[in-house]
Amino acid sequence: MNRRINLIVDLTKMLLIILIACVLVFIIVFLTSQEPADAVYSFFVGPFTSLRRIGNIVEAATPLMFTALAVIIIFRAGQFSMISEGAFFIGILGAMIVAITGRMPPGIHPLAAIVFGGFCGAFVASVPAVLKMMWGVSELVTSIMLNYVVQFFTIYVVSYHYREITSSSLASLLFQETSAMPVIVEGTRVHLGVIVALVLCFLGFLFLQRTRLGFKLRVTGDNLHFAQYAGVGAAGVMVSAQVLAGAIAGIGGGAELLGMYTRFKWTSSPGYGWIGIVVALLARRNPLLVPLAAAFIGYLNVGADIMARSSDVSREVVLIIQGVMMLLIASEALLQHWRQKLIVKAAEKEAKEGNDDAPPELPDASIGGNDIPYTGVDTPTPNSPDQEGL
């Protein structure tokens, strides 16, 4: 019964949030634009006006799927590492080095590059994880610091070792032609990376639901004390989760680089790791829903790009919207009142039905008595990145 109520409330909440996001776009555009109608049109309808643009949505969604999956694995282990950003960028660097210097046949070359990217991502992600395991250093701050380190390190390596001298702006040498990821849809730039992402999402689901480590990971994330009591080796699980997540983000970086570019052109970390958090929350921390959520965010990004090109509203609108969505999704108390009302009603109904003659078989009150946590905002528990009910 409660399950159905939760589903109804969660769905409503999600729709409400999407609605709020759209309304926000309207408001911002109408407040700032000279030709608001055109801007809104190009934002919402623009992405669907041609095959190439639909392709753009998929292209935009692809890197987000990787980072969102990484975020999900970290969050579900109850950790707060923000390393997917850095792991993604170092993955780009790793893949770039292999793509420029490697001498390999076509099919093998991109594979080797991406695998190396994944390896780099895993290595970077292991740093905050190990620091936390060994000495309890907050993985949150170290991972964010590390993201900056990765950004400068990558730019340094590119500009001092692989730089295209003839180019005025920062760009790397041209990749070997053998390293390119094949395009899979004619007329777009949708590349093999999206298939890799979809497969990884599915594997991620299987990992969490159908493997021993995934099981231990969920237990650790749900209740660390319980994991310790049951002897699942929580510390090892937390490190493995972060390393695995780093590998996934790194692979994503590699795939993005080889699928979309022939040179490295970034001047700063692209932010896919941060947006991956929005996608992960939108997907309700379920890997199977990641493609859908990534497509939605990808759609917003493409819409914002088209709007920026065809009107006077800049594309950064989309960051504001994504931030607001993150706030709303993370709000546990949103619609909580309504949820509770439904649950109370259901409980009362159940109590009535079960109450004929004998004294009612009340649910044992001990959970309600002393064990219920104080409902005011007292402890920002690190243990619950966000609950099942979003």
Partner: protein, 318 residues
């Protein structure tokens, strides 16, 4: 290398050290107030960034420094309210809430900047009003020391005064007592009618002012324009400084000075023809190293204290 050491002990470096410490001290003090009342404020970075922009915009549009300060503080308070409302009232997780604020700030600053100046990178086309530099009478005449301590930006001196102000607030006033109580045992505080949410809300707002000042220093003191993403993780470094300073104002101040040292060092090393990107990593690596060392020594001290206590207990039994 010897040149480097010489440079570090020069008055120029010491002056710069204090200069780069300012934007860490102010938000670190803000973080101390939040930590003490039981809120880990991860929206620091975004609030700093937005205040940096609005300080410049307010000054340029209003035509005086006053309007810059007013706009910067106002936007800091607004974003603080947003953070506090979602985190405290709607019970959004603080990490997600802070990340969201930072994401919004990243987009919002560029959006507003472009809307007003047509540029996305810097506010250089606007006329900026900066906080004035202040020469301290008498002190400025002392050789060497005068060069180091005098002639800083007004906000630098305010930052140092704020260390004392926060000590006063936390340890001498009823408000501070309540904040500390709320942070340490919220149930105890609420059982005597201290409203936990309200107290934390207040803490977030007060720290919002400090964080905003820290942000404004970047665009109205350190530089005199706003540039995109100019906070560059300083909010997070400030958070680390507050943690390392065990959430005491003086501890946070000292930790901020340590991190600022590496920030200053990276400035010099760039002059010494070491690749800029390489050197730019330094403050962040220093923060990671600092937090790690702090955690290690805390564990070690904790263990040693326990051992001592056990030995004492043994003795007293015999």
């Amino acid at each position: 290398m010897s040149g480097l050491v010489g440079y570090i002990f020069s008055s120029d470096f010491l002056y710069m050290w204090i200069r780069v410490a300012t934007p860490l001290i102010l938000p670190a003090l803000g973080a101390v107030i939040c930590n003490r009342s039981g809120v880990v404020h991860l929206g620091l970075e975004g609030i700093m960034l937005t205040a940096a922009l609005f300080g410049v915009l307010g000054g340029a549009l209003g035509g005086s420094l006053f309007w810059g300060i007013a706009a910067g503080i106002l936007i800091s308070l607004l974003l603080s309210v947003l953070f506090a409302y979602f985190h405290l009232s709607l019970r959004a997780n603080n990490v997600l809430c802070g990340t969201a604020i930072n994401t919004i700030a990243g987009g919002f600053t560029v959006f507003v900047l472009e809307l007003i100046t047509g540029e996305k990178g810097t506010s250089s086309s606007l006329r900026s009003f900066s906080f004035p530099n202040v020469n301290i009478p008498l002190v400025e005449d002392i050789p060497v020391l005068g060069d180091v301590l005098s002639g800083h930006n007004l906000l630098t001196y305010i930052a140092i005064l704020m260390v004392f102000a926060v000590v006063f607030l936390l340890y001498k006033t009823p408000l501070g007592l309540r904040m500390r109580a709320v942070g340490e045992n919220p149930n105890a505080a609420s059982s005597v009618g201290v409203n936990v949410t309200k107290m934390r809300f207040t803490a977030v707002l007060i720290s919002g002012v400090l964080i905003g000042l820290g942000g404004m220093y970047l665009s109205m003191g350190y530089l005199n324009m706003f540039t995109r993403d100019m906070t560059a993780g300083r909010g997070f470094i400030a958070l680390a400084a507050a943690a390392m300073g065990q959430s005491t104002p003086v501890g946070a101040f000292l930790s901020a000075m340590v991190f600022a040292f590496f920030d200053g060092l990276s400035n010099i090393l760039q002059l010494l023809r070491i690749p800029a990107e390489f050197v730019q990593m330094l403050p962040y690596i220093a923060t990671i190293a600092g937090l790690t060392l702090y955690s290690i020594q805390r564990i070690y001290r904790f263990k040693r204290k326990n051992r001592l206590r056990v030995i004492e207990a043994e003795k007293s039994r015999q």
